[in-house]
Amino acid sequence: MFRFLLTKLGGLVPTFVGVTLLTFAMIRLIPGDPIEVMAGERGINPERHARLMHEFGFDRPILEQYVFYIGDVFRGDLGKSLVTKKPVIDEFLLLFPATVELSIVAMVFAILVGLPVGVLAGVRRGRPADHTVMALSLAGYSMPIFWWGLLLIILFSVTLGWTPVSGRLDFIYFVQPVTGFMAIDTLLSDQEGSFLDALHHLVLPSIVLGTIPLAVIARMTRSAMLEVLSEDYVRTARAKGLSPFRVIGVHALRNALIPVVTVIGLQVGTLLAGAILTESIFSWPGIGKWLIDSIGRRDYPSVQGGILLVAIVIMLVNLAVDLMYGLINPRIRHAR
């Protein structure tokens, strides 16, 4: 187990270097000089231009900039935002809980709906229930998040008035961030009604963010179920006279879950990518929205640092998924 963990962690190093190199190079490959862009129509005199280039370190050779950058990264210093002048890591940590909260709720929604629906489609293969689930999941999978979000806002928030349009909490509540998770902070704040209001604000964004993972999970569960249901041990279980619920729920589902868990793990990447759009629509103050803003403002340190931190999160989640297989199926425990 220990050795397994070590090899896995070792595998992360090249990925890490790759990610830093990519983000570093990509943002610098965009032609045009950032100081000139910042100055806009007004322009900037050459002397001031040179001074700013030096201050930001853009006047050094690109390789040297990278080496300095990596050195700082290993010291835990991701630099300061060019815009807000605050450390990138502080800004990330401030906003990350909002993204995690939204992603968790979206994932829970996707699993709670996706799994049973997938099982249903698998068990009722070829029947109307199956066709409906497959058609809906295809639609969900292909849904442009931005359009889907606006559609739900217009229907549920503007026309029906059931849900708030955007944000994390009604401004009549004044809740100080303690954990950064609004659902927890509102509970800690003992302001009556604020917890429910926080949940209320979570509904639409998590449905929007959870739609693609939901579709993927449903389809994966269905195909895994189909495979497992034709296995001998399922026939045996049925022959033993076990109730259909026990056969499907315990014997079949447990084995069908392995590929499903893999897919769920892979969806974390999808979730974080989807969060960029979802957060922009719902004015959700998380890292997705922050990254978009930083790209627009050419805030190099924030973009580099932000992408790097997101990549680290995805790598760690994938590692956790690898470890989880063992919990589901003892045969894959890591003696290798």
């Binding site: 032609p31 129509e41 002048k85 004044f174 922009s280 803003d293």
Partner: protein, 531 residues
């Protein structure tokens, strides 16, 4: 640690009675983005100024609400020396600074605050100069370091600014956001406590609203300043709900989650105007979109050619096709909201026949080949430069002028055009201080032709003499006269095609009263009420 500190401070403030009372009048503004910070000295974005300088701070002079003319602010009156080299400001008595959990002012506003606010940006050895950052962008861009010779405290309530050269727009500069006045007393206290950087996190000003809390990228809360020197604001609480998407802002406005929103989608304006619960205000922006002829290159050194190409362009089609109604045809290089705008100037109408005739006079009846540079980005004065270039290309083709459309990445575009590589190009300008000089001299003067800011590279002695003379005199009536004459020269010489000024829309709920649109595109809420 810093965050916890701020959090605790804000929590304490809330407990001390700043909590949002249920019956308080709260105005919610669905702002379009997050402020970069709360010290306006470092920034240039309107979004940041809305949240910082215009809500929290005051300046020595202020722009009239809804206009560009200067009126007293923290200075009750001022005198300009005859040689135009020194400005003496007499400060307003009894102005109180805000307090917060970590700072309680013990004295009223005085000359020390003014000296501190400018010296921090100006003097590189000032103890606060390098706190947070040293990029005092706007201060530098407006040429303040070269312009200032001294900022002197004459007595507690008098400050004198000595300049290196007479510069009439200096007074307008004093109304700009970077010239906001901060508390020297707070600065001293923080320096003693060893936390000078807090000055930019916990802003203390004299303005109509006090910052209560900022939750990054989500919401900014303000409380009305009950001691405000112009009188307490009509609303009690001001909330900025940061909402970056225009469609979502509109949805929030409809759902009653906010009262006012900036920057609607042009496509939504019609529906907004038809909605009985909403009012849509509109005004020309403080900008101009133009096409500049490179007058150093043939055949654009010939006035007749420039006039011909002016006559050939159908501006109405551009206003419809590019601005979708959110624009107004421009005839002068300054927008109509700026004082000294010359409404007597007559624009070149759309007249291809006249254009052909002028080309013939210039000896170019067969037409010629040229280029049109179109910038790759959306700007307030030009929402779609590519499309605009295509329309102009078609108009010119009709009189035999074949133009190739050229574009570069934005930084590259600005840089190359500054060097004069173009033949004709699209660009524009958004005003900084509402002074005509900020357009006429900065964009069209001979100095700018040398430095590249004048994209037409046009140096006309008659025009330049007028705008330089206007810069040297502080008398507004005399300046107005000079600028009006300069606009006539400009139109006849036609170094640009003045294309359009954008029209800015502000949708708000019917219950909002007293809102005034600001020509600078700034959003301020003093004087606004909810019925």
């Amino acid at each position: 640690m810093k965050r916890q500190f701020l959090g605790a401070a804000v929590l304490a403030t809330a407990v001390l009675g700043f909590a949002f009372a249920a019956d308080a009048k709260t105005l919610v503004f669905c702002s379009e983005g997050s402020p970069e910070g709360f010290n306006p000295q470092f920034f240039q974005a309107g979004t940041t100024f809305d949240a910082s300088s215009r809500a929290i701070f005051n300046r020595l002079v202020e722009f009239e609400r809804g206009g560009t003319s200067i009126q007293p602010g923290l200075a009750e009156s001022w005198e300009v020396a005859d040689d135009g080299l020194s400005y003496t400001f007499h400060l307003r008595k009894g102005v109180k600074f805000h307090g917060n959990a970590t700072f309680t002012p013990t004295r009223d506003f005085n000359a020390d605050d003014v000296v501190f606010s400018f010296e921090r940006q100006w003097k590189t050895d000032h103890p606060y100069h390098a706190v947070t950052a040293t990029t005092y962008q706007y201060f530098g861009d407006m040429g303040m370091p070269d312009l200032l010779k001294a900022v002197e405290k004459v007595d507690d309530m008098t400050v004198r600014f000595v300049l290196n050269a007479p510069e009439a727009p200096f007074l307008s500069n004093m109304g700009m956001d970077f010239a906001s006045i901060m508390s020297a007393e707070q600065a001293d206290a923080l320096m003693k406590a060893g936390t000078p950087e807090q000055i930019d996190q916990t802003p203390v000003g004299t303005g109509p609203f006090m910052l209560v809390d900022y939750q990054k990228d989500a919401v900014i809360r303000y409380k009305a300043n009950a001691d405000y020197w112009e009188g307490k604001p009509a609303i009690d609480d001001l909330v900025f709900a940061i909402t970056t998407d225009a469609s979502v802002r509109y949805a929030k406005l409809k759902a009653g989650e906010c009262h006012i929103m900036p920057y609607p989608n042009p496509a939504d304006i019609k529906a907004m105007k038809a909605d009985p619960t909403l009012t849509v205000m509109e005004q020309e922006g403080l900008n101009v979109g133009y096409l500049a002829f490179n007058t150093e290159k043939k055949p654009f050194d010939n006035k007749l050619v420039r006039q011909a190409l002016n006559y050939a362009i159908n501006k109405d089609a551009i206003l419809k096709g590019v601005f979708q109604g959110a624009g107004q045809a421009a005839k002068n290089p300054i927008p109509p909201t700026i004082w000294s705008y010359n409404d007597d100037v007559k624009d070149y109408g759309y007249d291809p026949v006249k254009a052909l005739q002028l080309l013939k006079e210039a000896g170019l009846q067969g037409g010629f080949e040229t280029d049109i540079w179109a910038m790759p980005v959306q700007r307030p004065y030009n929402p779609n430069a590519q499309r605009m270039a295509e329309l102009i290309q078609a108009d010119w083709a009709a009189i035999g002028v074949k133009a190739k459309i050229v574009s570069f990445e934005w930084g590259e575009y600005l840089d190359r055009s500054k060097k004069g590589e173009h033949q004709t190009m699209l660009l524009g300008w958004t005003g900084d201080n509402g002074d005509p000089d900020n357009f006429l001299h900065v964009l069209l003067g001979c100095d700018a032709a040398k430095s590249g800011g004048n994209r037409a590279r046009w140096c006309d002695k008659a025009f330049d003499d007028l705008v330089v003379a206007a810069k040297r005199t502080a008398d507004v009536a005399a300046r107005t006269d000079l600028y009006k004459k300069a606009q006539v020269v400009f139109k006849d010489e036609a170094p640009w095609v003045t294309v359009a000024h954008s029209v800015v829309f502000m949708p708000m709920r019917k219950e909002v009263t007293g809102y005034k649109m600001d020509p600078f595109g700034i959003h301020q809420f003093y004087g606004v009420d909810i019925q």
